[in-house]
């Protein structure tokens, strides 16, 4: 098999949506590193206070910290993105490329490459493995996750263990708006009707059913969906943000969404919910933010909802400034006047 065909096969394997359990670093990845990499990329020994046997490219692959730190060219793994990870990319180069790794001996097999790619695409987690060097070191924080906002951490958590859908499944939904991964490497989807609002109706939305478990953000503002779509949306078990603003959706079927345990933001501004819809809205116990401008709920009803649910941010009409008084006659002295 040619090298390229092998690579193609590897990518196909890595990208396939077959349900596979998560790669176990210690059991599946470590043997590859130990067998093919650490001979040249080991933590230097200290003899007589001097480092001996410097690792090639200043890259150490026998410790967690070494792999996370990278070598003289910078980082070698980008968690969730094997195609940006040099640890993987360098091993996919053709045999005659001067940059190919391992530098001596056979190339990695397609199966080994697939394992590496999957491990990285699943977030490059090491389990409890620390490896050579300072054993007492606290587990290194994930370099990408460090400094990430709680919002992003929640997305990662929600996507855990979920396989990405393949393109064909997504294409079959024939959705006229945008479907995109929530971010690179995430199995979760962001679905938006923007720019194609008039085409997105109940029928179009119903065709999203095969994707339902993957949709985390659904933006249907101004689209043609009605109450009938709420049955479809109720199947989106990983939905976090739902925007139904400026649609014909009413309060009647909203209780269908109560089952959505992940739902945190619900946008209903300019939907005719009616003055009494506060009761059903108060039942969304996990909801964090709700938009209710021009929904038939008056200020008192909004205040009541906020009181019932202290953890909920209730957003009403915009507090726009009153129009300015007519500009006073200019009295100030201008230079050169």
């Amino acid at each position: 098999m040619s090298r390229l065909a092998g690579l193609a096969l590897t990518l196909a394997l890595a990208g396939s949506a077959v349900a596979q359990s998560k790669v176990d670093f210690r059991r599946e990845v470590l043997p590859i590193l130990e067998g093919r990499c650490v001979k040249c990329h080991a933590t230097p020994k200290i003899e007589d206070g001097k480092r001996v046997e410097e690792p090639d490219g200043d890259l150490v692959l026998d410790s967690r910290s070494g792999i996370l730190k990278g070598g003289e060219g910078g980082r070698v793994i980008e968690p969730w993105a094997s195609k940006k990870s040099r640890l993987y990319l360098r091993c996919t180069l053709p045999e005659d490329d001067p940059d190919v790794m391992p530098a001596s001996g056979d190339l990695l097999t397609a199966a080994q490459l697939a394992t590496l790619a999957r491990w990285i695409d699943e977030g490059a987690e090491f389990g409890d493995w620390v490896g050579a060097g300072k054993k007492s070191a606290a587990p290194a924080a994930n370099p990408v996750a460090a400094g990430e906002s709680p919002t992003v951490a929640r997305w990662r958590e929600l996507g855990k263990g979920l396989e990405s859908l393949d393109d064909a499944t997504i294409a079959r939904a024939k959705f006229p708006g945008r479907i995109e991964p929530l971010f690179v490497g995430s199995p979760l989807l962001r679905v938006s009707a923007i720019g194609r609002e008039s085409e997105v109706d109940d029928k179009v939305l119903a065709a999203l059913a095969p994707l339902a478990g993957h949709v985390a953000q659904l933006r249907l503002s101004g689209s043609a969906v009605t109450d009938a779509s709420l049955a479809t949306i109720a199947r989106m078990t990983r939905l976090i943000d739902l925007d139904l603003s400026r649609t014909k959706v009413t309060a009647k079927p909203l209780d269908k969404l109560l089952a959505l345990e992940s739902l945190r933001t619900l946008n209903l501004h300019h939907c005719s919910l009616g003055a009494k819809s506060g009761a059903v809205l108060a039942r969304f116990e996990r909801l964090e933010k709700i938009y209710l401008w021009e929904t038939g709920l008056d200020d008192a009803a909004l205040a009541e909802l906020a009181k019932l649910r202290p953890g909920l941010t209730v957003v009403g009409p915009p507090q726009l400034p009153a129009p300015a008084d007519p500009a006073p006659e200019p009295t100030r002295r201008r230079r050169n006047e």
């Binding site: 959705f175 971010f183 938009y291």
Partner: protein
Amino acid sequence: MTLKSILRESDEQSRRAFLANTARGLLGLGAMPLFSRFAGAAMPQDAAAPVALRPATARNVIYLYMSGGMSHLDTFDLKPGSEVQGPIERLKTNADDVFVSQHFPLLARHMDKVAVINSLSSNQGAHEQGRYFMHTSYEMRGTIKHPTLGSWVHRMAGRVNPNLPGHVTVGNAGPGESAGFLESRYLPLPIGDPEAGLQNSVRAKGVDEKTFARRLDRLRRMNGAFADRYGAKAVRGYSDMYDDAVKLMSSADLEAFDLEREPEAVRAAYGDDPFGQGCLLARRLVEHGVRFVEVTSGGWDTHNDNFEQMEEKCPVIDRALASLLADLEARGLLDETIVVLATEFGRTPEIVTERNSGRNHHPKAFSGLLAGGGIRGGRTWGKTDERGENVIENKVLVPDFNATIAHALGLPLDHVLTSPSGRPFTVAHKGKPILELFA
């Protein structure tokens, strides 16, 4: 295939994408497959594919630019009781840690949404160079034109609404209107007067739809052979421009540009002036899926009459920005729209009495604002000394500021785009995002 070519692959237009594009140009084939591959693979409907986005808390940007150098001491970094302060008083806001000048009473009610950066620092003390640096994160030089932030965002994140431009500038022609070395398709659509909307966007009188289609078809045929032979960026840029313009002309989204559709009370709330109406237009455009809108306010170069000019200029910003934040929030747009207020530098602590209390250029320390799009509001970041002269805490360099915006949008800061001359550039030029600002 070498390593480099693999890494570059996602940027290069594939032959298929080129053919698809040409076909679109020649035959008017707009209906391209919606979905190609995930993760930044070539998208046939765009000449260059957007890049794979990191987790993003913002999807759009409204960038308000105070051209001329906004005085930090008289707006968001006040030094009450100090000899450098002059007559302007400090106002409390609805956020404990945040103060604004007395000229921002309306904005003071919305500062819980805003992070004030009081430690911006630039090394460019002249207007043109300062504006260029703020917009591109690179210093101006003779050998290359760098893309502005709007063009970077447009190029890397792609359009939201395929019928509308990815990037619009409102107000006087400014430094935001350059795509640098990028293709001309990443230029913004400039709107001079927000109230006039988009000019010449309807078919000329006496040209019916059929005639128009026939003319376009003839144009495509005449250009086709040339485009085939010389598929250079600039050539594609021209045909893309026609395609986009035609798409826009027949689009229902054209109404996004029409401020007449707003209630009179809303228009009045934003302020009856080009900046206020520009902010309202920005909100409409973002709502319709324009990725990046820049609105410019000019005349901040207050060498003369600093305090009198503040009295005149700040209320315009106060009203427009307070309305914009309230309006975006009520619509649920503020969660995904990062609102930026920036300028090229601050102004000196020294008050020049000979020029009726003017202030001169001061790039060493100045202020900017960030709100929405995942930014945690209601706080102040960074600190200057008691004169507002030097940054003494959490210095934010211009590339850091831009990197923070790029980070909010999920743009990979290490993603290299290569200029036609083969030189590598990255968005925000190695700036470090201020991660602490994110909620």
